[in-house]
Amino acid sequence: MWRCDPLLTVNRYKCCYCGACVGVCPTMSLELVETWLEVSPECKECGICTKICPVGALEVKA
């Protein structure tokens, strides 16, 4: 399916840059660079990371 933006969104005002999401992502699509969480195009939008985030900063947009 064609798309221009990843459907996983990071609320950077909420994110506490803890890296928990990075540890559970099965496709290694997340990378934490200091306070900046990068999402790569390999993201499958499986939503695992969104359920793990302790502060609710991640969301897969339907």
Binding site: A20, V24, P26, I52, P54
Partner: protein, 391 residues
């Protein structure tokens, strides 16, 4: 840049590995992607005094508080107390990890390890398929570090293992999702660590308060990932604050993921050793991982010295690391994992019964293991599934 060993990550695991290898004369480079080692903290900072002091000289600069013991609260409020001299492997000191982690890194630097901060490993370098270093980003510029041996000490986010073909991705049931507030409140008990259990309070985990002296405490929560949800830990922690520290002032916020997967299948690959959280060496029931990370770091550093000198850096050549960390902590982690798998299934009634059964027993001199054994004696039916663990 060339060296004998490149260590990825400057937490307790990485710094102990770097220090051990450098002290024995190896040329060691340790990379840390953050610009400040140890900050932000992702930890409740509790450690057992005795084991810590076997590895490093205690320094008042990084000890925030010394605690006497631990109190455990059942969902119905029933309280039992364990004292420090035996509960010591879980509590003892509450550290100031921002200073502690930095001090360990400086100890490594002092014996010759080169420390590069704001330097992030991006992937493994390979020669004929065999790892031979890492490519990194050093302050925004590419940097290649060639080394026949790579120690992955990159914590819960670990990628070194995954690059080397070891699947370290954590399943939701095998990570505890944590939130923590550093709280100032006049009602804080400066002498005891406290643990609060309950399926509404902290599904599949617990709430803790670890005092840091002067009416300050780390008040945190760990929720089993499979029972958690987006933002659940911080929401539950706020509820706990309302009921237990309604006037508490929050002066710092911490979030984090704590591996609770039990023993991983392999912590080595050709040219690669994983240490600490990267190898899921945390205790699945308490979540404690600092001391195991340090122990594993020391073992990996010692094995690195031998392997580099004899030139056998294949997975087989690194088998001594695998054998030694499993002997040192593997059995304990495996057993704790079984306890965890059982305890996450208990209802609040079960928890009330278990903790209530200890009310008239003297457990003040017991450690966690001793307490579990006592629990089994008092509640054989409820704990029947665990009988093979209690011998």
């Amino acid at each position: 840049m060339k060296c004998d060993v490149v260590v990825v990550g400057a937490g307790p695991a990485g710094s102990m590995a770097a220090r051990t290898a450098a002290a024995a004369g190896l040329n060691v480079v340790m990379l840390e992607k953050r610009q400040e080692i140890g900050d932000p903290v992702r930890c409740a900072e509790g450690v057992g005094k005795r084991v810590l002091c076997e590895m490093v000289k205690p320094d008042s600069q990084w000890i925030a508080a010394e605690v006497k013991g631990a109190r455990i609260y059942a969902p119905d409020g029933t309280r039992v107390v364990m004292s420090e001299d035996r509960a010591g492997s879980e509590v003892g000191y509450v550290l100031e990890r921002k200073i502690f982690d930095r001090a360990l890194a400086m100890d490594a630097a002092r014996v010759g390890a080169k420390v590069l901060v704001k330097t992030r490993a991006l992937e493994l370098l390979r020669k004929n398929g065999v790892p031979c270093g890492v490519s990194a980003m050093h302050m925004g510029e590419p940097l290649q570090i060639e080394a026949p041996l790579i120690i992955g000490a990159d914590g819960v986010e670990s990628k070194v293992g995954r690059w080397a073909g070891i699947d370290t991705a954590l399943k939701p049931k095998d990570i505890h999702c944590c939130a923590q507030f550093l709280v100032q409140d006049s009602t804080i008990d400066d002498e005891y660590c406290e643990f609060f259990l309950g399926n509404n309070l902290a599904p599949g985990g617990y709430v803790w308060t670890f005092p840091k002296g002067d009416k300050l405490a780390n008040v945190g929560i760990g929720v089993q990932g499979s029972k958690s949800g987006s933002g659940v830990p911080v929401r539950l922690l706020k509820e706990f604050m309302k009921s237990h520290f309604p006037n508490g002032r929050v002066v710092e916020i911490v979030a984090g993921g704590d591996p609770s997967s039990g023993v991983i299948e392999s912590a080595t690959a050709d040219g690669v050793m994983l240490v600490g959280d990267a190898a899921h060496q945390t205790d699945p029931i308490t979540g404690g991982g600092i001391l195991n990370a340090m122990k594993a770091g020391i073992i990996a550093g010692e094995v690195a010295v031998k392997a580099v000198s004899n030139g056998n850096l294949s997975k087989a050549g690194l088998k001594e690391y695998e054998d030694r960390w499993r002997a040192e902590m593997g059995k304990h982690i495996a057993r704790s994992f079984e306890y965890k798998e059982f305890f996450v299934k208990l209802t609040d009634n079960d928890l009330n019964q278990l903790i209530g059964s200890l009310k008239n027993e003297d457990i003040s001199k017991m450690d966690l293991r001793g307490m579990l054994r006592m629990l089994f004696k008092l509640n054989p039916k409820l704990l029947w599934e665990l009988r093979h663990l209690v011998v």
